[in-house]
């Protein structure tokens, strides 16, 4: 009952923040003006339909997908400090995307998610190779962080030597929703297929939380579940990163917050994590936009400001 209520409230919150993001910005719009913005003849058509609406939709998609990916990773390796960005997967995907854009600028943007995906997979495999399958929470996190440092310094280097447009650079350094529109949404849509697959792992993720021995004795194949969950997580992360850059800490904090709200059963946790991720990213983007218009901060800066202290707190708490 409590879980249903929490999810419902979260969904309401998402709707409310979407309404806010449609109304606030360089120009503030009233409710009627927003509605009229869906009409092609209106003067607000461009602001609403071409700018704020796609951006909100994108925040919903990316927030949900990145949060889901974090929940999968945390569930499957039973490590509260893990998430695609702490483990360097986001940054690896970002590096691959940046390499594609700077070194092979003639290649179609269609390939961007695929480049990001291969970068993410390579980063994940590399981490696996360095850490092995049985490493403690701290060790995995610290190795991941070191890898992330390598990838981001490579991105920095490419940005400095082959300068892109300034706002684009910002996107790849911190993660941002700036200047994203319907095109990017259509690029992201096919990847939504992964979400039902992720949900189908819910029951097995519960059992993995009980430890390898018990999960096996309850009839779950550990290695298959791990492989599937991690592959889906990398796919979700890479597709988001290829569009919005590595938005830090989102995949880390959303599952934790959701777990506090609705508990650890993955059947409930996974959808709720997505809702929490949406709320965080929508809010981060909204604040980043309205803090000092027309200058925009990037959403990634905002998530880092919320996420880093939370990470510290987790670090303090984890055994």
């Amino acid at each position: 009952m409590k879980t249903l209520l929490s999810s419902f409230l979260l969904a309401l919150l998402v709707a409310f923040i979407v309404a806010l993001s449609l109304s606030l910005g360089a120009v503030s719009l009233s409710f009627e003006q927003i509605l009229s913005g869906f009409d092609a003849s209106s003067e607000f058509y461009f602001t609403i339909h071409e700018y704020r609406l796609p951006r909100s939709i994108l925040a919903i998609l990316v927030g949900g997908m990145m949060a889901l990916s974090g929940a999968l990773v945390q569930g499957v390796i039973r490590n509260p400090l893990a998430s695609p960005d702490v483990l360097g997967v986001s940054q690896g995907a970002g590096l691959a995307a940046v390499i594609l854009m700077t070194i092979f600028p003639s290649v179609s943007i269609f390939w961007l998610p695929w480049a990001a995906l291969s970068g993410g997979i390579i980063a994940a495999l590399f981490l696996w190779f360095l850490c092995g399958s049985h490493s403690g929470a701290i060790k995995l996190a610290i190795t991941g962080v070191a890898m992330a440092a390598l990838y981001s310094s490579a991105v920095d280097f490419l940005m400095l030597t082959k300068p892109l447009e300034v706002n684009n650079a910002l996107l790849w350094l911190t993660g941002s929703l700036w200047g994203r529109g319907w095109n990017q949404i259509t690029m992201l849509l096919p990847w939504l297929v992964l979400i039902p697959f992720a949900f189908s792992l819910a029951k097995r993720l519960n059992l993995i939380g009980l430890g390898d021995d018990v999960a096996t004795s309850l009839g779950t194949s550990i290695s298959m579940t791990r492989l599937w969950a991690l592959t889906i997580a990398v796919g979700l992360t890479a597709s988001c990163v290829s569009i919005c850059g590595p938005i830090g800490f989102l995949g880390l904090i959303a599952p934790h917050l959701a777990r506090r709200l609705v508990g650890g059963r993955h059947q409930v946790l996974l959808p709720c994590t997505m809702l929490v991720g949406m709320v965080i990213l929508l809010l981060a983007d909204l604040v980043a936009r309205i803090i000092n218009p027309p200058i925009e901060l990037s959403a990634g800066i905002m998530t880092a400001i919320i996420g880093a202290p939370y990470f510290l707190w987790l670090l303090f708490k984890v055994r």
Binding site: A202, K203, L210, G219
Partner: protein, 255 residues
């Protein structure tokens, strides 16, 4: 006849800890695996619960190789309670116990009325009914052990495998647990447990398997197994065997 090992060697990283063991576990008994630390009793138990794959030999369940039997089916036949358990975040006691039903539920893990009944019963047997709304992470070590036991009971299998289940429990809960084993055993379950305490094993179990250095030294009823010579050779202690004045089972007193 149901669970048997044939020349089984098991270990970690290519090192055999259990060496060439052939053992048939009698059905319908409470069986204790005994032996000094590192003798391979837990390793053997894990192999029988298919957590570890034997390096050599075969383990048979109902005459078929355990490791080629479908895992989902085995989950309805053999339940394992490991020695240490992780502490899952944000999981209530009733959720955890319900996870024991997962071999029977569909892919979303939806519980039927029957499932709820079995969960309720398992919680009563393990004495954790009043904890059901608490989070597992908030419990004490002994309470947690009993909650996990309830989870294993909810799995509703004819065989129960337990790895030192009494370790973190208070004395009264230890006694309750051992008595629960008796009740379950009378209801038809076979219980295989690793135990540390020889006297506890002799008092509550009706079949003892004694191991040393990865091999089986002897097995049988407590009265025939527990001898001065055995304690001397396996545990390197000099001890006397007396009869327990209450239960009339053998017990050893170290000199």
């Amino acid at each position: 006849m149901s669970l048997s090992t044939h020349n089984v060697s098991v270990g970690y990283h290519g090192q055999a800890i259990v060496k060439n063991v052939s053992l048939t576990l009698p059905e319908g008994k409470i069986i204790a695996l005994l032996g000094p630390n590192g003798c391979g009793k837990s390793t053997l138990l894990k192999a029988m619960a298919r957590i570890l794959t034997p390096m050599g030999g075969e383990i048979h369940w109902q005459g078929n190789n355990l490791h080629s039997t479908p895992s989902q089916y085995l989950a309805t036949q053999l339940a394992l309670l490991p020695q240490t358990q992780p502490i899952p975040e944000g999981i209530k006691v009733k959720d955890l116990v319900a996870y024991g039903r997962s071999p029977y539920t569909g892919f979303w893990g939806r519980l039927t009325k029957e499932d709820h009944k079995i969960i309720q019963q398992a919680m009563e047997q393990a004495g954790v009914t009043e904890l059901s709304e608490q989070f597992v992470s908030e419990l004490s070590g002994g309470q947690r052990q009993r909650v996990w036991l309830a989870m294993t009971l909810a799995q509703d299998t004819p065989y129960l495998l337990l790895d030192e289940p009494t370790t973190y429990m208070d004395l009264n809960h230890q006694v309750e647990l051992m008595n629960l084993f008796k009740t379950l055993n009378e209801a038809g379950k076979t219980i295989i447990t690793v135990l540390h305490d020889i006297n506890q094993a002799a008092r509550y179990c009706n079949h003892l398997v004694v191991m040393k250095a990865g091999e089986i030294i002897t097995q049988g009823e407590p009265e025939s197994v527990l001898t001065k010579e055995l304690l001397e050779s396996v545990f390197s202690v000099t001890a006397q065997i007396h009869t327990d004045p209450v239960a009339h089972t053998p017990m050893c007193i170290v000199e």
